[in-house]
Subunit: 402 residues, 4 copies
Amino acid sequence: MSSLFDQFLSTSEAIEVVGERNFLQAMLRFEAALAQAQAATGVIPQAAAQSIIGTCKVDLLDVSKIVRDSAFAGSVAIPLVKMLRDTVALFNPEAAPFVHYGCTSQDAIDTAMALVTREALVLIRADVQRIVAALLQLAGQHADTPMLARTLMQPACVTSFGLTCANWAAPLVRSLQRLDDSAERALQLQLGGTVGTLEKMQGQGAEIARLMAQALGLSVPLMSWHTQRDSWVALGCELGLLTGSLGKIAKDLVLLSQFEVAELAEPLEAGRGGPPSMPHKHNPVASMVALAAAQRVPQRVATLLAAMPQEHERAAGAWQAELAEWPQLLMSVHGSARALALALAGLQVNPKRMRSNLNAVRASLPKEAAKEWFSPDLKQHAAQLARQQVAALRAQSQADGV
Amino acid sequence: MSSLFDQFLSTSEAIEVVGERNFLQAMLRFEAALAQAQAATGVIPQAAAQSIIGTCKVDLLDVSKIVRDSAFAGSVAIPLVKMLRDTVALFNPEAAPFVHYGCTSQDAIDTAMALVTREALVLIRADVQRIVAALLQLAGQHADTPMLARTLMQPACVTSFGLTCANWAAPLVRSLQRLDDSAERALQLQLGGTVGTLEKMQGQGAEIARLMAQALGLSVPLMSWHTQRDSWVALGCELGLLTGSLGKIAKDLVLLSQFEVAELAEPLEAGRGGPPSMPHKHNPVASMVALAAAQRVPQRVATLLAAMPQEHERAAGAWQAELAEWPQLLMSVHGSARALALALAGLQVNPKRMRSNLNAVRASLPKEAAKEWFSPDLKQHAAQLARQQVAALRAQSQADGV
Amino acid sequence: MSSLFDQFLSTSEAIEVVGERNFLQAMLRFEAALAQAQAATGVIPQAAAQSIIGTCKVDLLDVSKIVRDSAFAGSVAIPLVKMLRDTVALFNPEAAPFVHYGCTSQDAIDTAMALVTREALVLIRADVQRIVAALLQLAGQHADTPMLARTLMQPACVTSFGLTCANWAAPLVRSLQRLDDSAERALQLQLGGTVGTLEKMQGQGAEIARLMAQALGLSVPLMSWHTQRDSWVALGCELGLLTGSLGKIAKDLVLLSQFEVAELAEPLEAGRGGPPSMPHKHNPVASMVALAAAQRVPQRVATLLAAMPQEHERAAGAWQAELAEWPQLLMSVHGSARALALALAGLQVNPKRMRSNLNAVRASLPKEAAKEWFSPDLKQHAAQLARQQVAALRAQSQADGV
Amino acid sequence: MSSLFDQFLSTSEAIEVVGERNFLQAMLRFEAALAQAQAATGVIPQAAAQSIIGTCKVDLLDVSKIVRDSAFAGSVAIPLVKMLRDTVALFNPEAAPFVHYGCTSQDAIDTAMALVTREALVLIRADVQRIVAALLQLAGQHADTPMLARTLMQPACVTSFGLTCANWAAPLVRSLQRLDDSAERALQLQLGGTVGTLEKMQGQGAEIARLMAQALGLSVPLMSWHTQRDSWVALGCELGLLTGSLGKIAKDLVLLSQFEVAELAEPLEAGRGGPPSMPHKHNPVASMVALAAAQRVPQRVATLLAAMPQEHERAAGAWQAELAEWPQLLMSVHGSARALALALAGLQVNPKRMRSNLNAVRASLPKEAAKEWFSPDLKQHAAQLARQQVAALRAQSQADGV
């Protein structure tokens, strides 16, 4: 399914979370929660709800037929709802008309995407936290390890490896916080009915929404967000920012791992990093994954933003474009986070080489300039900042339960 | 200056705010605040600070020479600092070495960009607030005005024009809130020295930063954000989200203003909207401006995100790319907000046509379907939601001092 | 596999062409052609080549294991080559070292992508040709059918539906020509060995490349294009241009199919275009698919362009990003072309409504303006152009064997 | 005008070519050619044409007033035509109605953009040719200079610096060819009248177009391309491809110029490359400019592609977005080409360091691996390819009059 090149740029967990089966199951959770809430508010009969809820199991449905039929229908909800209704009708024909009652495709699909995204965010957060933990430990440990500071890709002055690590960690700590805020706003129930007015809900729309959101663990929006995509796309932007910050780490790792620099190296794993015929190759595979994500994700975010002007009550094309980009966004972000989590956990640090690279610069300069800009003692400024950062970032992380 | 096509896609105010003169003045405010803080902390002599501060006036400098020289230097800070230093030296030669003391170009430029951005945000906010006010008024006034609801560009059911307006307003109210949060985090002092360690600040770096930030009305970051671009680019994302939400309004305006639909029209102004030879033309010029912004801005945001992986302590290319996109981003966003503020303030609403379009759909359908989906009575669901929305959005706006 | 939302935005044929199985088969075709050419030039033993060629069948390999292992290896070629070598070794251990002899992963993968792309282009071309044929027929048939011409979404003057169709067709005729040129340059053998120097080919590199290219039906590049991506990405740009031209048609279709305009309608197929509960809905599903493609593909092209600066002899991240975008690009383009081919083949044209919309504009204007700008007689200018266009486009199409 | 950051990312020549004055002058050339052709075909009086042609001089108009008024009109053509008409009327009132006769704003603007683009392409071509010349010379000179070949940012094998240069040059030679083809198709007269039907040209439209195109040195399109943007945007794509190929060179230059690698260096110019306080800094400023372009231009191209679906006979927003991006595209591309032309003309090559970096890798490996992959003798494969490339590229360049 065109996923050949996503295998090593993403993770099996993320691929499964955004996969067909899990997505359809999430849609069925929507349908079950809807039936339950509509029964509780008297909008549909209790017995119908029972039948519907009992049938909302992905194992009861023919997933590949739904996927196939969606191509013709132009929507995945139409064949899913039809099959669900037909299956319900086998057991309880009177319940069938109450399947997906008063709802539109977008209600089920947007809600399912929110549920699936929540799962993906759990994966992403866990790996980002591992990265932060690894970096803060390195930052503390190497607060005093002097290292060339480079600007415009040329030696500029002295920093410490600890400060470098703190610099990498700080944006991630902020990302975790912003992701939380953003997810809270974005992971909302979608419930609008055909055109956002819940016109078939017999005046119980607000209560049904409340019950469903509670059951599904989602927020209740002020009103349906069929074409109000800002909170949702804001979450996409956050994922873009996270990918950019991870990409910064990966870019530095790649640069610092060059043979001629050799200050860092990704952990060496048998069978990874190069073809068997070239034992000398020690490719920075994890960084490569994070860099690929950092090149693809910005355009994904652009597509989400460009798709925001959605016509009238529901769009023709823009919503579908957004939907199709979203799972790939989640896959890329987790691919990047996981790759760096593994690489940073076993990062090989070479303080001797940091020192000798610094010395080589000094040796190449007149004494005065060497002393002013490249004295190893200059590390003290970096060390102090590194220690402050680590303390502040640790405090912040703990305050946020990171 | 390539600005010919920005004239009508932006505003003269925004163009001035991000213009050369204002930007250089903002850089000079940085230099003055730096001298003042360094004198207060004893890092440079008080007399030197006096001379520097007195010279930090854009009128004293040859703006066009600085601009010209920047092309050669590859940085606007280098010729500015040189000219400032030379000018200071005319009056007080001993002060000259203390100009821009211990700082790097990026410190002055990032800080200036933050100052300039703050001015642009004032412009943007004011126009978005005018849009929100106009929309909430229309939403209340037309809560009960029935209107076709359209999905996938086809009639689907009934809504009210009031609900449509509430739908347009809600994302803007949220944008104003998020912009505030985001700006607070993004509008930070930049102060790192050559490589982020403030190595020439004699241990007074933190205090100098505190004083400067206070003087300039900016936040103090945990540490320099030379290559930690997340908070800054997050503000760019917010501007992208705002542009998308404005684009949604513009797209609907254009569609509802079509001759065959004619439910809305932008206010008619003499000399606008069409060539004099075609008096029948009533072009939706404001919406056109907002739509153009909605097509350009997502790619600007993508460039900002793609530029996040900045190498080592300061980048070669990525930072410069980000800088160059930013003013154009601000210009586009204000162009869009201003255009819609003017258009919505005088929006022509045609409830009769809304009714007759609805009736035309009903007339085309079998009685049963016409009644189920297009009875004007269905407006009641929309009306109720519209009123709730208006109340909630007003409350939210007031709580936030919008 | 995240393909749920690609099902109805692409086609089953395109999904299969870029799918895992077909891609791995294409890689095996590379390996077989390599062995054959190396044997013919005496670089490897003939018997080894026989064994390798006989084993290069996707049915002999465990596809899902290769895919799984690629995640760890960071490359799909490493596990494929390993499995191929192991399988060859079962039958002929002496042949095993000659599998993939002197090649790099990128040789096999880029070549396979070229082979797969050629298959996808056949699909795309066929549907674009169907669109052109349908449009030229409509253009001829309706050369004289007067129709409102609209600029900035407002009535401006008179055109004919025939000219509109010719306007839609012309860019597609050019696209077919440019695609041919571009494909000829882009569909090249990749063969460079580890770093582009073919250092293990015993001086037979050029001859091996010639033989392989001949066997695979690809062009021979001047030299390996490991990091010379221009010809390849140029093909991606062409696909972007085609998608934009298809998007233009789709946008007009959607606008002209609005209930209030009703000049055109996509063919109605049972079960498509709306949920069963809303028989009045006649959603322009095909146009929606083409519009979604037109929103996603530009960013895909941007990613390809942004990935061009690939480091040194082979890149870390940029090449992988390019690879992962490519199949999705092909899927989107074919989805768009197929959808419009179906829609235009059965397009419902309503000349009466075109006339009555035109009359409505006339009726709304002072006599003078109505006569100057909206007299149906103005169609004659359009009719003449339409007929010229159709003739020219037919000639061009035939000349190119379109 | 927000150009502060474009100064050093572009060139003064390019900024002038796409500037207001030159653009308005190009529009006036359109108006003059129109009057002349309309007089020649008897559509307007000869005397009127004389007056109009005599007035089509930018010095006679108030440029800043036109620019200012365009903001209100939403088009630069409306105030220009008005001022031109008013000025003509001063001398020859009877000629005034024949100004811009039968044309639309887009006719003048698109044609002017084509004229201006042609000028920019002359600048761009000249610098790309200088780059090609410099690279082919280096490629010949250093065909035998051994150099580490690096893949995934790690040493992989041996190449020669000559082959590296040939690798950089080849895409540029192709770009020059493709740019020529593409420009020939893109640099067309725009002439459609209000809606593309030339309805006021008294049947002389085709002849008027032929005469005008001849006078302006542009191609005559089959029909007006108001919403057929493919040939035009194809030129934008070519510029994107060129920028990507230049970016590849710049990325390698930056990497090979790192202190720890030191195989290359940009020429050192006084006052460039670093602040005066840091004499040790030798920043790769030219590469930085090219890298910034390579990060910005892909999104510009994406905007052009995304703007292709332009509604009906002329678009609301998409055309304006395209217009505004185009000059900045040209500015970026020339900035990149010029910067690299200067840098490569004086490139500092360090063959000793190439050799010692290679030796260092050898020394780090077991003898067997060192010999197999890093023997300096391996350069012979690269040398042979380099010589072939240089010959082929020279032949190609000369054949194309490059």
